[in-house]
């Protein structure tokens, strides 16, 4: 919250000439790009998410259970890793173009990855699991009676699907889209490698391309304002559209067994989506890693980067949980005005894209304790501002599930509040806190923009190495750290999925 204040001050007190220049040259284009990118991704996400969720929940075919969890694996690939594999796949004379030319004639060309279409494709493949996951659980808990009523009153399958089923799961779809769009708007990694100008990327460019950060602060302010509007819009929308199960007559959907032809069609479709979003990129990474390893490019330096990433992420995760405990406690047990203010303040980190978080922390540190600049603490602080909300959310919901009666019982038996907290509350919520720790750890491992901007000398993280090598198109050199991040992230994604199912 405090860092954000510094950005605001710096933007508001900026020379009007800077504002005018930005409004006339940059802002309209950035608005257009960011919004059209989000919309493009949203449309593809809807199509992919709904169709996949429908196939998985309504049909039983060989392997459908395996597909169920394979389809969320794309979440484990950081956007910049997917982007860099696609710059390779889509480049002129690249693999995909050759394959395409055998079909469509030798003159046929593919679209460039460095374009609107390229950015939409990469980010859609990276984010469709958000919509898929939420659509899937909505379809699973769906009351089929509604559909049956529609069918008996004469609606055919297609009308039923579009007039009854889809509107009923609308809240889930919107929640999924909201997540995806927030991700797209705050993404730095993919758009920077694909050089597609969005707000988040422009903030970074202004920070690194100009000699003062005022213009970056101005753009950040516009971006954060938009994010807040979006955030409240979503809340408002969600409150308006709530559907309740009112009667007791509830029937779960039963998956239809499908014949060999449908099975084949479904499997090819799933294979296509999964291959594009996960299979192919990971295969490439494995292949490049093998090449790099056999060429001796995986040196002792690589393990240094691993250590930098792991230690820093571990430290941040621990700090986030330690900071989160009092905040989550305040939010759940002591609802006071000041408490709510603190907690909501911490949540503002959610709408801060990486470069903005970095800029904010930079502004704060340079105004207060400039001695810290260039040390690891600044980077840690930026991570914390950025990822505390994620930790907080998990911890808050865990604490909420714990009835205060237990604590009250302990208190009535004469235990003081601190002791109660450590002996009663903490052991009971350990699991939730641990998953919050893991979540922050993984987010930090993937974090790119703040690491790029604030890392101390000799402290390149894995993400930074991937980005530096990938922007030089040294595919093999970027592969080992990329593969490592994916491998570390997969179990966490599966863990979250399992929690989601229970």
């Amino acid at each position: 919250m405090l860092p954000l204040l510094y950005v605001t001050i710096s933007a508001v007190t900026a020379d009007p000439a800077i504002w005018r220049r930005l409004w006339t040259t940059r802002v309209p284009e950035l608005f257009f790009n960011t919004i059209s990118l989000s919309l493009g991704v949203a449309v593809i996400n809807l199509a992919l998410g709904i169709s996949l969720a429908w196939i998985i929940t309504r049909y039983a075919f060989i392997g459908s259970r395996v597909w169920d969890w394979l389809l969320i694996l794309p979440l484990s690939i950081p956007s910049y890793v997917l982007a860099y594999t696609y710059t390779y796949l889509l480049k002129r004379g690249g693999t995909l173009e050759h394959a395409w030319q055998t079909f469509a004639g030798s003159e046929a060309t593919f679209f460039s990855p460095f374009s609107f279409a390229g950015a939409v494709l990469v980010l859609a493949l990276n984010t469709f699991p958000f919509v898929y996951l939420l659509a899937r659980s909505a379809f699973k808990n769906f009351n089929v009676s509604f559909e049956e009523v529609a069918r008996t009153t004469g609606a055919n399958r297609v009308t039923t699907f579009f007039r009854v089923s889809l509107p009923l799961i609308r809240p889930s779809l919107i929640a999924g889209l909201f997540l995806a769009i927030l991700y797209v708007a705050s993404d730095f990694g993919a758009v920077s490698l694909l050089r597609f100008q969005t707000f988040t990327y422009a903030v970074y460019q202004q920070m690194t391309g100009r000699f003062d950060n005022t213009a970056a602060a101005c753009l950040s302010l516009v971006l954060v304002a938009c994010a807040f509007v979006f955030l409240f819009g979503e809340r408002w929308f969600r409150q308006r559209s709530r559907f309740y199960q009112t009667t007791g007559r509830y029937r779960k959907p039963v998956p239809q067994p499908s014949g060999p032809l449908t099975t084949f069609l479904f499997t090819s479709y799933l294979l296509l989506v999964f291959g594009a979003a996960f299979g192919l990129p990971v295969l490439l990474l494995v292949q490049w890693t093998v090449t790099a390893a056999s060429a001796g490019d995986v040196s002792h330096q690589f393990f240094g980067y691993v250590w930098n990433s792991v230690s820093l992420s571990g430290l941040t995760a621990t700090a986030a949980v330690l900071c989160g405990i009092p905040l989550a406690y305040l939010a759940c047990r002591r609802r006071t005005w000041a408490g709510t203010f603190c907690v909501q303040g911490a949540y503002t980190g959610y709408v801060l894209p990486g470069p903005v978080a970095a800029l904010a922390v930079l502004a704060l540190v340079s105004q207060t304790v400039p001695q810290l600049y260039g040390t690891i603490l600044v980077l840690l602080l930026a991570y914390l501002v950025h990822f505390l909300p994620a930790a907080l959310q998990g911890m808050e919901s865990t604490l909420q599930q714990l009835t205060p009666n237990l604590e009250e019982a302990a208190r009535s038996l004469g235990s003081r509040s601190l002791r109660t907290f450590f002996q009663v509350t903490l052991p009971l919520v350990r699991g939730g806190f641990l998953s919050a720790w893991i979540l922050v750890f993984v987010q930090c491992m993937k974090e790119l923009p703040a690491s790029l901007l604030l890392r101390p000398v000799g402290f390149d993280t894995l993400a930074v190495r991937i980005w530096l090598e990938a922007s030089e198109e040294l595919y093999q050199l970027a592969a080992p750290p990329a593969l490592l991040i994916v491998v570390i992230t997969i179990p966490v994604v599966l863990l979250l999925m399992r929690k989601d199912q229970t």
Binding site: E29, R195, G209, G374, L426, L468, E472
Partner: protein, 336 residues
């Protein structure tokens, strides 16, 4: 539980402390150059002197911002960038100190140094047209400004607006031809290049070699690097604006300077001396195919000698003051 967190915190913190500091005898270099263009030289220096070098790679401008914020606390000893304009800006901001090296005057010509030797040019590159030899008759182009003619529509590739080479080129053209002509030139480039806007010189050279476009604007050494890998590629460099009244080609230099607050002056000086010595210069000449700026070191044999063509008369040290307005001109035209 709490103890477990605390323990992990302490363990991680203590274990990682050594890797976070840098030993006192390690020289810290802030580098705005692509790592593969500077690492060979630093490796050679490390091997010869035994001084360890730690490098931080980032955008040149970002490094200046960083040096400014760090002030006297900066860990950096040497600043290396790919653009003399940025170095001159660093000098104006008093982030660098004059380097006293014997024989400097005889080694590096004065036009490749700051007036007070706060920064010293290491290697030069010229901005040329790369053309596909099967598609273009080199006699048709005499000036770089010709690429803005409507006849080139859809046939040229240009660098993106963030490219420091484009910014340098535009600064020089502005200084010699004025803003009006420069803006017209950029508008023409934008129309002609359409989607062929690349962030990397290498991509432009590759696009020309494949015949997707007929010509492109690049730094000369990317052509030689491509030819070294693919000797039969149908590409060649074209030096423009060589007539008596013409402006000459745009030349920029990568250079280095010692930071104002270095605590390892002797080692920093040793690095600069190495980089301008014949041995250091050869890494730029042979590996990178750049022009060594040490006048006693010859360029790679496949390059035209630096003395054999006309170079635009804008001093490198003026690039800094031209830069800000150049950015505005580029943004106004709407190059991306």
């Amino acid at each position: 539980m709490q103890r477990a967190f605390f323990l992990s915190f302490v363990v991680v913190a203590t274990l990682s402390l050594p890797s976070w500091g840098y030993a006192d005898d390690t020289l810290v270099v802030y580098s705005g150059r692509a790592e593969r263009l500077i690492q060979p030289a630093l490796d050679a220096f490390q091997a010869e002197s035994g001084i360890r070098v730690q490098m931080l790679t980032a955008d040149s401008t970002a490094l200046i911002n960083r040096l400014r914020m760090e002030g006297a606390r900066t860990p950096a000893d040497v600043l290396i960038t790919n653009d003399a304009g940025t170095l001159e800006r660093a000098r104006e901001l008093q982030l660098l100190q004059p380097t006293a090296i014997p024989d400097l005057e005889e080694t590096i010509p004065s036009r490749f140094r700051a007036p007070d030797n706060s920064w010293i040019g290491l290697s030069g590159r010229i901005w040329v047209i790369v053309y596909n030899t099967t598609m273009v008759n080199p006699g048709d182009i005499s000036s770089i400004l010709d690429l803005a003619n409507p006849g080139w529509k859809g046939k040229i590739a240009i660098p993106s607006a963030g490219s420091i080479y484009l910014q340098t080129g535009v600064s020089v053209i502005r200084a010699l031809k004025g803003d009006e002509i420069t803006a017209g030139f950029l508008r023409g480039l934008k129309d002609n290049a359409r989607a062929f806007v690349y962030g990397k010189n290498r991509q432009i050279v590759a696009a020309v070699a494949r015949g997707e476009v007929a010509a492109g604007l690049v730094n000369h050494y990317y052509i030689n690097r491509h030819l070294a890998k693919h000797p039969s590629a149908p590409i060649a460099p074209l030096l423009t604006d060589q007539g008596d009244q013409d402006m000459g080609v745009v030349l920029n230099a990568a250079g280095a300077g010692i930071t104002a607050h270095t605590k390892r002056l002797t080692q920093a000086r040793a690095l600069i001396r190495f980089l301008i010595s014949p041995k250091g210069q050869r890494t730029f000449a042979d590996v990178n195919k750049e022009y060594p700026l040490n006048s006693h070191v010859k360029a790679a044999p496949e390059l035209l000698p630096l003395q054999s063509f006309q170079v635009a008369s804008v001093p490198l040290s003026r690039l800094a003051q031209l830069r800000d307005l150049t950015m505005t001109v580029i943004e106004d035209v709407g190059l991306r």
